[in-house]
């Protein structure tokens, strides 16, 4: 049973402490899997749906909220990702005064680097969510290759992956 307030607070915290659409992924992954509220599969599903659906890919959190807690979860996720961007007004003010301060720039950069670092364990979990397998590794590798071309629409990309899953796994 999901406690809506703590779920919302977690979603809000993750969004507040991240910039960009997937910066909140490591924190959400760590806390939700530790509490047994979500598993790797749900994260992968939400990320895939977020890629396919319109709008910023950051809307994957809406999908995650839905998978965990139904429409209510989607609504909580919507509020949680709609509020933090309002702080951009404060950032714009701050930037006018201290945006070029080296400590400020350093802080933002350090957070960005830590997000990338914290991504690594999440990626390994996604890759081997069904135990280590050569086929999964191969699919991931091909996926990187396809992604690098920037030519293949994401829906085709993930469709091919689904086909590979049906045939190989």
């Amino acid at each position: 049973m999901i406690e809506p307030f703590s779920f919302f607070w977690l979603l809000l915290r993750a969004s507040l402490l991240s910039t960009g659409g997937t910066g909140n992924l490591p924190l959400l992954h760590q806390e939700l899997t530790a509490q047994g509220l979500a598993d790797d599969r749900q994260f992968a599903e939400a990320l895939a749906i977020g890629q396919i659906s319109p709008g910023p890919s950051g809307l994957w959190v809406i999908s995650l909220g839905f998978l965990i807690d139904g429409p209510r979860g989607a609504l909580l996720a919507l509020v949680a990702i709609a509020l933090p961007p309002l702080l951009v007004l404060v950032v714009a003010q701050l930037y006018r005064r201290a945006g070029d301060h080296p400590a400020m720039q350093g802080f933002v950069r350090g957070m960005m680097l830590a997000v990338v670092g914290a991504f690594v364990p999440v990626l390994i979990n996604l890759l081997w969510s069904n135990g280590p397998s050569a086929a999964a590794f191969l699919i991931a590798l091909v996926s990187v290759g396809i992604g690098m071309t920037r030519r293949v629409p994401i829906i085709v990309h993930l469709g091919l992956a689904a086909l590979a899953g049906i045939m190989l796994m």
Binding site: A48, P84, A114, A118, L127, G165
Partner: protein, 208 residues
């Protein structure tokens, strides 16, 4: 970079709320191509079609959004909405951009949830999951590129710190199970001190 303060009432004649809502809804409906395509559409509407912001203002706003919390595109929507029509502009812009895409995302998830236990869906998913891992890897490389380029320019010490922070976070979070928040704030603090010291050692460096 002068005047980054958000000033409302930018355009010659502020458009009516309903008209604004219509424009943003149009952007929301067309946002099927994902983030980059949406940014392209917003820029075209805001700068070229309606002239609410100049090209330079738009670029600066987008840069500010990289440093603000949350989804960059929503930050941009907030900033542009505010500049065009103040608080009302923010509300209208967010509703317009998010209503179509959020509804479709929730509907897609609902549809998916009703078939997710089928055998075929399960095995399809075993292909999709590693593919998203591959996409995530690409995304990390893209996120890493700007700070990596910056620190390369600043010299070897900065580059080593950059790489060390990434590896240390990966190990501390992945192996030692450090809370992600602690890792994020800790890395931010370390890099802030490093940035501040670097600036003090080279005070004559010209501002970018």
């Amino acid at each position: 970079m002068a005047d980054a303060e958000p000033t409302a009432m930018r355009p010659v004649q502020p458009p009516a709320g309903l008209q604004l809502l219509w424009i943003w809804l149009g952007l929301g409906v067309q946002s099927f191509g994902g983030g980059t395509a949406t940014l392209f559409l917003i820029r075209r509407a805001v700068v070229e079609r309606h002239g609410w912001l100049s090209e330079a203002e738009f670029t600066r706003d987008w840069a500010l959004c990289q440093a603000a919390p949350g989804i960059n595109l929503i930050c941009l929507t907030v900033l542009v909405g505010y500049r065009v029509r103040g608080a009302l502009g923010i509300v209208v812009a967010m509703i317009g951009l998010l209503l179509p895409s959020v509804t479709i995302t929730a509907l897609l998830t609902g549809m998916y949830a009703s078939i997710r236990d089928l055998d075929m869906v399960q095995s399809a998913l075993r292909g999709v999951v590693p593919a998203t891992a591959g996409l995530g890897l690409l995304l990390s490389v893209q996120m890493l590129r700007p700070p990596l380029t910056d620190s390369c320019r600043e010299g070897r010490a900065s580059l080593i710190l950059t790489i060390a922070l990434v590896i240390a976070t990966a190990l501390l979070v992945g192996v030692a199970r450090m809370p992600v928040i602690v890792a994020l704030l800790g890395a931010g603090m370390i890099a802030a001190i490093a940035g501040w010291r670097r600036a003090r050692l080279r005070p004559a460096e010209p501002q970018p």
